[in-house]
């Protein structure tokens, strides 16, 4: 499956990019944060406090979304 990843703020710094398309094999972990931890070890300390958004909506779980989704890694927000 293929996911379009978006990274913001300190997550973009740690990932070293703001977006990328990732291809996952069928035997990939079913937990998206585990996938990201493997792919970008520098993200590991940040992942526990990050939320995931799938196609622009906060996700209720860390499960892998459907093929082709846009997934954003959302570090703690700090607007206002």
């Amino acid at each position: 499956m293929r996911l379009h990843m978006r990274y913001f703020a300190q997550a973009a710094d740690k990932a070293g990019c703001r977006e990328e398309t990732i291809e996952l094999p069928e035997n990939a972990p079913q937990n998206l944060k585990a996938v990201l931890r493997d792919r970008h070890p520098a993200l590991a300390p940040l992942l526990d406090c990050c939320r995931l958004a799938v196609n622009g909506e906060y996700a209720q779980t860390d499960d892998l979304p459907e093929d082709g989704a846009e997934v954003a890694l959302i570090p703690p927000v700090s607007g206002g």
């Binding site: 703020a9 570090p75 927000v77 700090s78």
Partner: protein, 143 residues
């Protein structure tokens, strides 16, 4: 459903007086206006701040901001609600965010205004990076 007002994210500064005048235009049933303006401090955690760079997730941030406004309209006895949040580089002393609630009575206006600023700080995908005397710092706490 009451949808009076609007929300938006923009780079340019805003004029609170003009925004409030527009929100109140043609609504003589309003008895009170509560507003909050967030500004960029020149000191944070004891360190001097030169400017703040705001980043947002375009599309989702606008939708989440509008959800906050709609929640306020649904939960409080208010007439209208407005939220304007700036993005990009904001220097110390400049305006960052404007939140306004109009109501027939003041208590609902105050409560809705506080609800909107508190909620947007927790839910809307906007981030600030401070340029301090000691380097660049992503801010992650919500005071």
């Amino acid at each position: 459903m009451n949808t009076h007002g609007s929300s938006r994210i923009q780079q340019e500064d805003f004029c609170a007086d003009s925004e409030i005048a527009r929100l109140c235009h043609g609504r003589p049933d309003i008895g009170g206006i509560a507003s909050f303006i967030g500004t960029a401090r020149n000191i944070s955690r004891g360190t001097g701040i030169q400017w703040i760079d705001f980043e947002h997730y375009a599309g989702m941030a606008e939708r989440e901001l509008e959800k906050v406004r709609q929640q306020a309209l649904a939960q409080f006895d208010i007439v209208g609600a407005l939220i304007v949040h700036r993005t990009g580089r904001i220097h110390a002393g400049e305006q960052i965010v404007l939140v306004v609630a109009t109501a027939r009575h003041r208590k609902a206006a105050f409560a809705a205004c506080e609800y909107m600023i508190d909620t947007l700080k927790r839910s809307v995908p906007i981030w600030k990076r401070e340029r301090t005397d000691a380097g660049d710092v992503w801010v992650s706490e919500t005071p």
